[in-house]
Each structure stands twice: as C-alpha cells, then as structure tokens.
C-alpha cells in the first residue's frame, strides 16, 4: 500500500511476538522443560540416571518424529490432522508385512512417503484446505491399518526392538536421538539455502513464486519430509511396543500439533523452530509422567496436554494484545 497513513507502524501479527527474538521462542519452552525435569527429578531421584532417563523418555522417540512431521507441514502454513492414524498404519505394516516380506514392507513404506508428497501436490494444485484433505486422509490411513492388521497383534522384525533397545555410550538413546534430530532439523530448515525457500513459502508464497521457485516442488518436499518422519515415528513406536495396533497412533495428532506450537511455532506465516519442536514434544510427554508421579490419574493426560496448548496460545495472544 503506497503512502498508507501510519507508514512506519510497528509490525503486526505473529511477528510482534517474534520481535523478542527467536532465542526466546526456543528459550521459553526450554526453561519450561528444565522446570518439569527438575520437578520430576525431585520427586523421583532415580529418574536422574542413564536408565532412569531411558525409561522416562522412551516414548519421546515416536513423539519427536511425529512432531517433526507436523512441523514440516505447519512450515508451509498447512496442518496435518492425519499424522496419528498414519503412524498407526506404519505400526501395523511394521508388525506384519515388514517382518514377513521385508522387501514388500520397505516398498510399502516408500509408497506411503510418496503418497504424502502426492497429498501435498493435491493440496497445492487443487487449492484445497489441508485441514480437510489430511482429515480425510486420516480415515484412509485408519482403514488401511485395519485392513493390514484387523486386530492387535503381529510382531516386528527382530532388528527393530533391538535397535530401540540399543544403549549408546554416554547419552540414553532418546536423548541422543532428540539432540541429533533437533540438529538435523535446524540444519535442513534453518541453515540450508533451500530451507530458506521452504520457510519463505509459509511467509509469502507469492514472493517465492515471483522469485521463480516452484511452490509445488516446495510443498511436495515438505510433505515428503513429513511422510518420512511419520514412517520413522511409526517404526520407533513398533520397536517400543513390539506389536501392531491400528489405533495406537491416534494420540500423536494432538501431541505433534501441540509440540510444534509449544515449541515456538505458529500456525501461520512459516514460523517454525525445529529445536523448539523437539523440546515441545518432550514437554507434552513429560506432562503425562509428571501426572503419574503426582499420583493423578493418567486419564487426565489428554486434558492436560490440550490444556498446555490452550494456555500457550492464550499467553501468546495476550502478549500480542498488550503490545498493541
């Protein structure tokens, strides 16, 4: 807008919060995580050991990959409501096909990653709302999972539980994997030159298009990344559970969205923080552990996880208004 009165006005929208710097974006959830860990260690000093952490954080492995998948989709301003059932489907395939016919199993997993990319292409080409497409896809994933494994059971290939049971030196596996994933995510999305273009799509797709980049390729790359992360999350879950279940992944939809937002991401505008997302996933899972240490029924876990999400979004909105 030329010569708009009020030129030079302070920026609005998500960037007002961002003006505190991305350090705060990741710093705040990191501080919250430290407080939570402090509480847990005070109540359960035994958790503060290599094996304590391995047990305490075991299930963060599928969660951090689910969160990373969600983050890839949120980076372009979309949302993925199907990641939970997708993880269930991977779980069912890993507990059956992958063990019985490894080649077919791997092909199926590769095909599913390709399907994710195709979903991104569909959303872009037909200008469909991602919320509808991924919700629709979630029922497809669930249906496929039930076809593959109608009732819970099956068994993963032997190497999978072994891999999840691996005890690396110095750091427990969940901690090591989280650090590596955060570093990899930060590198790919925040530091490579193509990562800049991908984030730019979330910020101003027209500008990216005008600069000569393909929005279709960008969205497909991020959806493929999401599919790949989802596959890894499903495999990790199978390795931990050592069985398949067509509904086991359902909770990961909420957890993954909450992890991205709690970790400093925004629903719009291409603002995501890979490191923060990993921290967010930890927070969501530790909230459940904290409840059990406090002798509160784990039935409350979902409410608490949803509550954290609402509180974080509420605080952010408050911050925006008070600054206006």
């Amino acid at each position: 807008m030329p010569a708009a009165p009020g030129a030079g006005a302070a920026p609005r929208g998500p960037y007002r919060v961002a003006s505190h710097g991305s350090a705060l974006r990741v710093g705040l959830p990191a501080a919250a995580l430290i407080v939570m860990l402090g509480l847990i260690f005070t109540m359960q000093p035994r958790a503060m050991s290599y094996f304590g952490l391995t047990v305490l954080l075991g299930f963060t492995l599928p969660a951090i990959f689910a969160a990373m998948a969600q983050m890839a989709v949120i980076a372009v301003g979309d949302i993925d409501l199907g990641i939970g059932p997708f993880i269930s489907l991977i779980n069912c395939i890993a507990a059956t096909l992958l063990a019985q016919h490894p080649v077919l199993g791997w092909l199926a997993l590769a095909a599913l990653v390709a399907l994710y990319a195709a979903m991104g292409a569909l959303i872009h080409l037909r200008r469909l709302p991602s919320i509808v497409v991924t919700l629709g896809a979630s029922f497809v994933w669930l249906g496929l999972a039930l076809l593959v494994l109608p009732s819970p059971g099956g068994a993963p290939p032997a190497w999978l539980p072994a891999l999840l049971g691996w005890h690396p030196p110095l750091l427990p596996l969940p901690v090591l994997a989280s650090l590596l994933l955060a570093a990899l995510g930060e590198f790919l999305l925040m530091h490579t030159s193509y990562g800049v273009v991908l984030r730019g799509i979330g910020g101003n797709p027209r500008a990216i298009e005008r600069a000569g980049w393909s929005l279709l390729a960008g969205r497909m790359s991020l959806y493929a990344l999401a599919g790949l992360s989802g596959v890894i999350a499903g495999l990790a879950l199978t390795g931990l559970n050592t069985a398949g279940d067509a509904t086991v992944g359902a909770q990961y939809t909420l957890i993954s969205i909450a992890a991205v937002i709690v970790g400093g991401g925004e629903f719009v505008g291409g603002i995501v923080t890979p490191a923060g997302t990993v921290i967010g996933a930890w927070i969501m899972l530790l909230a459940g552990s904290l409840l059990s240490f406090l002798n509160i029924s784990t039935d409350w876990q979902l409410s608490v996880q949803g509550g954290i999400l609402i509180v974080v979004l509420g605080l952010r909105a408050l911050n925006r208004w008070s600054g206006a």
Binding site: A9, A10, S193, N204, A211
Partner: protein, 502 residues
Amino acid sequence: MTEQASEALVQLPFDQLPYVQLLGIRKSFGAVRALAGVDLAIPSGRMISVVGHNGAGKSTLMQILAGTLAPDAGTIRVGGHEVGAGYGVRRAGALGIRCVFQELSLCPNLSAEENTRVVHPALAGPGWRRRARRLIGAALDAIFPGHGIDTRRPVGFLPIGQRQMVETARAFTETDRPVRLVILDEPTASLDATAAEQLLRYTAEARARGVAVVFISHRLPEILGHADEIFVMRDGQVVGSEEAGALDEQQLVEMMGVVRAVEPTPKASAQAERGEIRVEQQARPDAPVPVRLRAGEVVGLAGLAGHGQRALLQAVFDAAHHRRAQLRVAGSVAYVSGDRRTEGIFPLWSVGLNTTIGNLRRLARLGWLSAAREAALAEEWRTRLDIRTPDIGRPIMSLSGGNQQKVLVARAFAAEADIILFDDPLRGVDVATKRELYQHVRRAADAGRAFLWYTTENSELVNCDRVYVFYRGAITDEIAHAELSDERVIRASFGTGQTVGV
C-alpha cells in the same frame, strides 16, 4: 582481438540500442483491455518514468516487463534479442531485469539476507548465508548510508520503511548476472524524505554504470527532477513521451488527462441540497476538507488507488455501528465490494440467497425465514436490475462477472440501507452493465439513498453530485458536479491541486 577492443564492443550497444524494447504489447483481462498496443524503449543508463492515472495500464505493463504476466500479443526484445513465449521471472532475472513491486514481495518470516537468497539461485551451498549478508549489506550501505538495518532479523519486524529499503536494495544486488534494468514501482511511497532522496541519488550512480531504471511514482516533482525521459500512459496506450527537462507539472497533468467526448451527464439531484445529513466528519488539521454526505446524494471518492478512499469507507461502515468522535453517521449502511471473490459473494449459494442475505431480519418472522418472501424479494430485484439468469435458484457462479456484481448491488439495495458504500464495485464490469447500474444508482439516490462511491475510473465520476479527491490519506480537493474535469481530478490525485472547499 585485444581486451580493450572487445570491451568496446560490449560497451557499444549501451548507448545506441535500447536494452529493452516493447513492441505492440497487448493485454486484456476478460472484457477489460488493459494494454492496447504499447511501444516502449528503455535504453541502458537512462531512467525513464511511466506516468498515468488509475487504469492507464502502468502496473500491467511493468508486470509484463518483469515476466510475471504474459502479454496477449506483441514482442519483447531484451539486449537486441527477441524473447519468446518462455519469458518469465526466472528468464527476466537471468537477463538482469529486476522489479521492486508495489506491494512488498519480501517474506516477513525471513531475514534480509534470507530474502536476498530467495531471489538469487546462485546463493546456495556452503557459506551462502555469509555471502548473502555481505551482498545485501553492501547494497544497503551503498543506497541508504546509515540505514541501521540488522540484516539478520526477520524483515516482518522491521518498520515498513526499512522493509522497503531492503526490498529496493535487494533489487540492486548482483551475483552471477549483472543487473541491467531495475523497475521501481512506487519505491518512495513508504520511505521518509531522506531515504527517498538517497535512493534517487543512487539511481544516478546506477545509471552511470549502464543500468537502466524504470521509475514509477505518484510524486510528480520526483519524476520531473530525476527521470531522463517521461512516458505518459492513458487508456492502455503510451500517448506521449518527453525529455523530463522539457516539462513542468502543469503540462504533465494535462498529458495524463483525457479530452472525452461529451456524454449525456445525469443532472445532479435537486434533493441533494436539502437532504438529511447522513455522514458528517469533523474538520481536523490533518483533514482540512471534512466529508459530508446528504440523503439523495451521490458522492464520489477519487484519486490514485490506495490513498485513503477505502479507509474512509471502512470508517463510515464502522461508525454506523459504533460511535466515533470524528465521524457521525446517521442511518443504516450497506457495503458493496469490488473484490467480489474474496469479500462479496457466497460462491456456493444461489443467486437468490446471495441477494437476500443482507435483509434477513426483515424477511424473518419470529426468527423463522419465509422462503416464499425471500424468493419474492430476490425475484423483484432480479427484474429490477435485470440480472440475467433464468432462475434465481441457479448457483451464483453460473453468472457472468458483471451479473455477479449486479447481485451484490441488488443485495445492498434490497437491504434498504440509507447509505450505500461502493468500494469500486464496477471494476472489470462490461460497459453495458455499467450504464444500467449508473441509472439504478441515480434512481435510488432520487428515492433518498445516499452513496459514497470509491472508483478508480475517472469516467465514472460524472455520475456523482460531488467528488472528493484523495492524496496520501487526505482529501486534496472537493469538486462539484458542474466543475468536474479530468484535469482537476488528476492534478489533485498527484497532490498538486490547491486544497479547496466548495
């Protein structure tokens, strides 16, 4: 061949051949002809300026030049070679053509250096960020010394002036290909005086290096003071070009105006003098001409797009629902948007439902809608505005654009509002439909409705009893129907008219 000789050969075309040549460029959007055969030559090392009022075709021409729009017909030559059908942004970029678009094309979530990377495919691989930082930093330092911009912060939290600086400086950065032509579309609109002066001074340096510049601005003194050559556009054609030194503001304004065949102008409504005051604005130092609207009056809001007309419509709309100190609005308000796709129609609904949605309270009894009365009302307006559909139950998207716009006008009329706000509703509508709607507007005004009519087409202003002309958020002229002339509107649109009360 010695090195010097080959250099001389490269230098030669700089002065003799235009770097970019447009021949017979045509472009239409549906029924609207935006460009009707434009010829333009842009020599290296010169700054040309393209001026014209709304709808003259400047923006379309610049988009074609930058490769974001393809022309329907015509030839584009760059560096003496014809560019074919594959001319797009990437190709334009490879040929050294850069554009600073009017609406910012930065990604707000990316930093200045990251935004620089976006337009330079060559900024990839290890160390790209360091190179990008140096590149944009150097360009900013060269153009806007003392800018004080942190190139590592996301541009979304820089103030708009600094964002404009980043966008402008980015256009002058070079990686693997030299910059040959930079299009600056209103680059000074959101810059303060110092930065604007710095930029204009820098264009002289760039020209000395052989860079061609196309400069578009609504500030005529900037154009007259800095451009080498001025092209005047009107109705999709270049109607004249002059060396900048040979012109003054008065002559330039005259060239932009149109001598129109006299159309039968509707006479101003007699009621307008006495009608009840519907909208009244308090005079303030920053708004020397207060807006006033009486029942039965049609008041036009003119000026270049985006200079505060829409803001006034919004203010009136808001003031009808909440009290405002500076603006008194008496009566109900209906709003007709020109952007029917995003804020006008309900695309999945029928013609009938789209017509009656504004008046549901009157159609309802005890909270229940009467389908029969709804249909009757829609049918009535279909007949009155001659909306061309066999059946009001047909989906709205089955209508032509002009007829969809008629439905929006019918909605406002059917809402029986006292004040109707027109937000350029007839943009892109065919002439026949326009004529019909002008008559309906006049009839409705005679029946006591009041109209505030923002239009980007000066020819529409003859339908108004009075016209306010906007420039940079304020009204610079108030013109009565009898005194209306294109020249006066254009002069006020560029801020060169005297501030007059009628």
